[in-house]
Amino acid sequence: MKDFFTETVLLVDDNDTDNFIHKRIIELAGFAKNIIVKNSGKSALEFLESVTPENIPGVVFLDINMPIVDGFVFLFEYDNFPEEIKKKCKIVILSSSDNKKDIDRIVDNEYVVHFITKPLSEESLDELKKILKK
């Protein structure tokens, strides 16, 4: 069975350390070729608004706890994006929270496909691959 592979992933996290770690893990795991990092919800939304079709990320790793535009706001705004983007983009929540309420609340969103507790690891990426393959 062919492994899941996507050209571009988008990392959205206000913590640059985390962004670095996640980028490195994704690189090491060979999850994606092109990794775009945005350190705020707002810049991520701006990126998605102006994205070219070939640059539309296959997976968006989204942190919840962010200043101003947090994960929830991001998802709310994301709802207004054109279908072609929404169709391609699979949103994966990547959060340090293990609060079940938070998780339930966000996983209920139709665009969210998975929830991963930080830190991102090779195992969790493998698991994600399995989910995305479906």
């Binding site: 770690i21 490195r24 893990i25 340090s96 929270s97 830190p119 090779e122």
Partner: protein, 910 residues
């Protein structure tokens, strides 16, 4: 039949008359014959002494007398005169016979004259004297004759005596038979005419009246002369049932009875009368006759009719009487009873006649009755039985009667019977009994009445009183009966009371009065008095001292409660059935800053905050539907003077059906302060929660970053054994810190957050937990045995259950001996309607007995191998307690540990 013959010889007198006329005729013709014989024949014998002058004189006298007799219709004195004259003439003839020498001519004439003379003599004595004189005279005259020839003399005497004797014999027989006949004739005639019966003799063929008596004439008002020879039906005929004499006669013959009573109609007068008619057949000289005997019984009949009517009326009266009246003969058999008896016995007269008491009543009773009756008959004295008890066949009392029995002579039986009258007094007796009973009851009632009752005369003197009244006044009954009611009231009131009580215009009176007891203590009574006809009065006294006290207490209580209500901080509102305010407590007005006028009579919804009105409305509806039940409504805001709002708690009860309250009571409790505090507390909690959340997150985030960095470092320096070892140690420390933070967060959440029940998916919870624990050292060699029996849906707080299971499993993993193929963790969950039982068993290190009661303490670590925070089991315990559950521990050190958690199913509370 002599009687019939008598009637036929009714004309005997007329016959006698005719005979008398014949006698006269014979006499006259004799006189004329002898005269003419003397005048014309004896002239030739001139030597005979026979002067014609004498004969002429005699003849004239007799003729004259005969005429007189005829015209005077046979008068006895003339008859006697003729007889006398003729007797004298016979004696003259004896002289002539002497004078002429007893010539045969004169002797023959003498004999003829004597014969004729004897015809007139009516009596035997006269006849005998006459004949004897005649014989003596003739013998004397013959003796005196000269020359006396003895032979001639004897011969003449003998002849004359023989002739006289012959005459005497002849006439004597004739006289006797005539006398007999006359006697009968007179007798029958008298009977025939003098009888009160009316007699008709009629010819059978023509119904012609051949004879009748004087009575017949009187009856018909006609003369007998007129009646005879008439046809009877033209004068008198039966009327009514028998229309003619023929039918009547026929009927009489058929009936074979001597007489019949019928109504007869007089044809001429056109009147009718009642008569008893008897008819007999008789035959005289070959002609058949009917002798009809009629007795006028009009009076008798009318009397009889009257008697019948009287009898009938009497019978009706007797029958009408409600009393039983009966007549019994000496043997006690009923002869006559009235209808009341028949009705009572339910028998007909014919059924009852001849019966005795023994046929109608029980033996004992009949025997007793018989004894009494026999005594009455024997003594002839009437008896009265004031109470005679009659019993039914089953022995129950049927009636009580007042019985009078008198001896009664029964003429037709010639014996004394019993006339009895039963007067049914059952009802009277029962009524009497009832009256006696009710009187007794009344007495009892009077005596047992809880009210005092007395009776006084017009002056207020007490005549009668019941014991309660005496008790009320403190007197004995004897003492009380000598008192005057005026003296028992307080002096200033007495006159007024008595005046009012004795005021006849007021029949009934109900007043309150104070009386003085014997010991001087006053007491208040309520008097219900009634003025009686005689000016006295009857009064019922009710001691209302207690009631007064009660009223006082009630008033005080009311004041107390009013004070309570009015001074209560709670607002008390009374609503009428349309939910308008009827009463509002002053405290409410104070709290709400309304005036009473602003609220009274207005709907309460006015003061309820707009947003809470639906809730309030539903609450009121609920109240109205369920009277008598308390309802509670919390957190309702009321408007305070249309500006400020107050939180209230509301308790309401519907007492519309309660006669006293007749409304809905609402109790508003001001909870504004508490509500504010609550809100404040919520805010504080929220802040704390946020803080904990943020703090844990903010602490976690860097930790996770560090862990991520460690991961990368490990991945990038796989060859450096030493470095990897350090990195691993760093990782362990960070995980420890992370777990602690996790514990801390769950602890705070458990204590702060409310339970939010939802369906618990145990399988998912356990799997998640196992998943998060799989990275623990040696975790993979421990066998996991899951046994889930989840037939019932279980509702509880998933988060807390997750925390519990997570912590327990985590301990099981942590403190395991980790021997391959031996170590196990058994997880079993069983749910049912009421609860869920979670059992987590492992064959790990176990817990020492001495620590077992401490392991749930905060920050307690029972194992030296422990690398936890000491919060895990504490949090478990807290969570279990929060969920109203139970946790039990069963542990053998070095053998096994079994945690059993029992949690209630919260589905019912939803």
């Amino acid at each position: 039949m002599p009687f019939t013959r008598l009637i036929l010889s009714y004309n005997a007198k007329a016959e006698k008359k005719i005979r008398d006329y014949v006698h006269l005729g014979v006499l006259l013709s004799y006189c004329l014959f002898s005269l003419s014989l003397n005048l014309f024949i004896r002239k030739q014998h001139l030597f005979f002494f026979d002067p014609p002058q004498v004969r002429i004189i005699f003849t004239v006298i007799i003729t004259l007398l005969s005429f007189l007799v005829y015209f005077q219709v046979i008068r006895k004195k003339y008859a006697y005169a003729i007889q006398f004259v003729f007797t004298v003439f016979t004696f003259y003839l004896i002289f002539l016979s002497y004078a002429n020498g007893f010539d045969s001519d004169y002797t023959i004439e003498l004999l003829i004259a004597a014969f004729i003379s004897c015809l007139f003599i009516r009596k035997q004595d006269q006849l005998r004297i006459y004949l004897a004189l005649l014989v003596v005279c003739f013998i004397v005259v013959n003796f005196l004759y000269r020359p006396l020839i003895f032979e001639n003399f004897i011969w003449n005497c003998f002849s004359i005596i023989c002739i006289a004797l012959g005459l005497l014999l002849f006439y004597e027989y004739k006289l006797i038979s005539e006398k007999k006949f006359l006697f009968k004739d007179n007798l029958f005639a008298t009977i025939f005419n003098q009888t009160s019966d009316t007699l008709f003799l009629i010819e059978q063929s023509s119904y012609t009246i051949m004879g009748c008596n004087n009575q017949a004439g009187k009856l018909l008002g006609l003369s007998n002369f007129y009646i005879s020879e008439k046809k009877l039906p033209s004068l008198l005929r039966p009327s009514g049932y028998y229309q003619s004499w023929e039918t009547l006669i026929e009927a009489l013959q058929i009936k074979d009875q001597p007489w019949i009573e019928i109504e007869l109609r007089q044809a001429e007068k056109n009147t009718s009368f009642w008569a008893r008619v008897s008819i007999s057949n008789l035959e005289i000289e070959g002609i058949p006759y009917y002798l009809i005997n009629i007795i006028d019984v009009t009076e008798l009949v009318s009397k009889e009719i009257l008697l019948e009517q009287n009898k009938e009326m009497l019978l009706k009266v007797i029958n009408l009487l409600p009393h039983e009246i009966y007549l019994k003969d000496a043997e006690g058999k009923f002869i006559l009873v009235n209808e009341t008896v028949l009705k009572a016995q339910q028998k007909t007269l014919s059924e009852l006649t001849g019966k005795t008491d023994f046929d109608l009543y029980p033996h004992e009773q009949a025997k007793l009755s018989k004894q009494i009756e026999q005594e009455i008959i024997r003594t002839g004295v009437a008896q009265v039985i004031p109470e005679e008890y009659d019993y039914n066949e089953d022995g129950s009392l049927s009636q009580i009667s007042y019985t009078t029995k008198i001896p009664f002579y029964l003429p037709e039986k010639n014996e004394t019977g019993i006339l009895g009258v039963h007067i049914d007094i059952t009802e009277n007796k029962l009524a009497e009994k009832t009256i006696r009973e009710s009187e007794a009851k009344y007495k009892t009632l009077l005596e047992q009445a809880s009210d005092g009752i007395y009776l006084s005369d017009e002056n207020g003197n007490i005549i009668d009183a019941n014991s309660k009244a005496c008790e009320m006044f403190g007197y004995t009954k004897e003492e009380f009966l000598h008192k005057n009611i005026q003296n028992l009231t307080s002096p200033e009131l007495s006159k007024a009371t008595v005046a009012r009580v004795t005021d006849k215009t007021k029949q009934n009176l109900l007043i309150e009065r104070t009386f003085i007891k014997k010991d001087g203590e006053p007491f208040t009574v309520e008097i219900s008095a009634r003025v009686l006809e005689n000016g006295g009065h009857q009064a019922i006294l009710r001691d209302i001292t207690e009631r007064k006290k009660l009223e006082q207490t009630l008033r005080e209580n009311e004041r107390k409660f009013r004070a309570l209500i009015e001074n209560s901080s709670d607002m008390i509102v009374l609503l009428d059935e349309d939910h308008y305010v009827r009463y509002i407590s002053p405290s409410a007005l104070k709290i709400l800053s309304y005036t009473e006028q602003e609220v009274l009579g207005r709907p309460t919804s006015d003061i309820i905050y707009q947003e809470d009105q639906p809730k309030y409305k539903a609450f009121l509806e609920n109240l109205c539907e369920n009277p008598g039940i308390n309802y509670y409504l919390s957190d309702i805001r009321v408007r305070k003077s249309f500006k400020e709002q107050r939180y209230v708690e509301l308790v309401g009860v519907n007492l519309l059906k309660d006669n006293v309250i007749n409304g809905i009571i609402l109790n508003f409790h001001d909870v504004t302060e508490r509500k504010n505090t609550e809100i404040q507390l919520l805010n504080t909690n929220f802040e704390l929660d946020s803080f904990v959340y943020r703090a844990s997150h903010d602490m976690k985030a860097p930790l996770r970053s560090v862990m991520g960095l460690i991961n990368i470092t490990k991945m990038e320096s796989k060859d450096n054994e030493e470095l990897l070892q350090y990195l691993n140690m760093m990782e362990v420390s960070i995980i420890k810190l992370d777990n602690f933070l996790k514990d801390l967060t769950s602890f705070v959440r458990n204590s702060r957050l409310e339970i939010s029940p939802e369906e618990v998916n145990f399988e998912e919870v356990i799997n998640e937990s196992l998943n998060s624990l799989k990275f623990i050292e040696n975790a993979h060699i421990i066998a996991i045995v899951k046994k889930l029996d989840l037939k019932f849906k279980f509702f509880s707080d998933s988060g807390r259950i997750s925390t519990i299971i997570n912590n327990l499993l985590s301990n099981s993993f942590k403190y395991h001996k980790s021997i391959a193929n031996e170590s196990y963790i058994k997880i079993s969950v069983t749910t049912n309607q009421d609860q869920a039982i979670i059992v987590i068993e492992d064959n790990g290190n176990g817990i020492d007995k001495k620590y077992q009661n401490k392991i749930f303490d905060m920050f307690y670590r029972a194992s030296e191998k422990s690398y936890g925070s000491g919060l895990g089991l504490y949090i478990v315990k807290m969570a279990v307690t929060k969920l109203n559950g139970n946790i039990d521990l069963l542990s053998e050190p070095g053998e096994k540990t079994i945690f059993t958690v029992v949690l209630p199913n919260l589905n019912k509370r939803d």
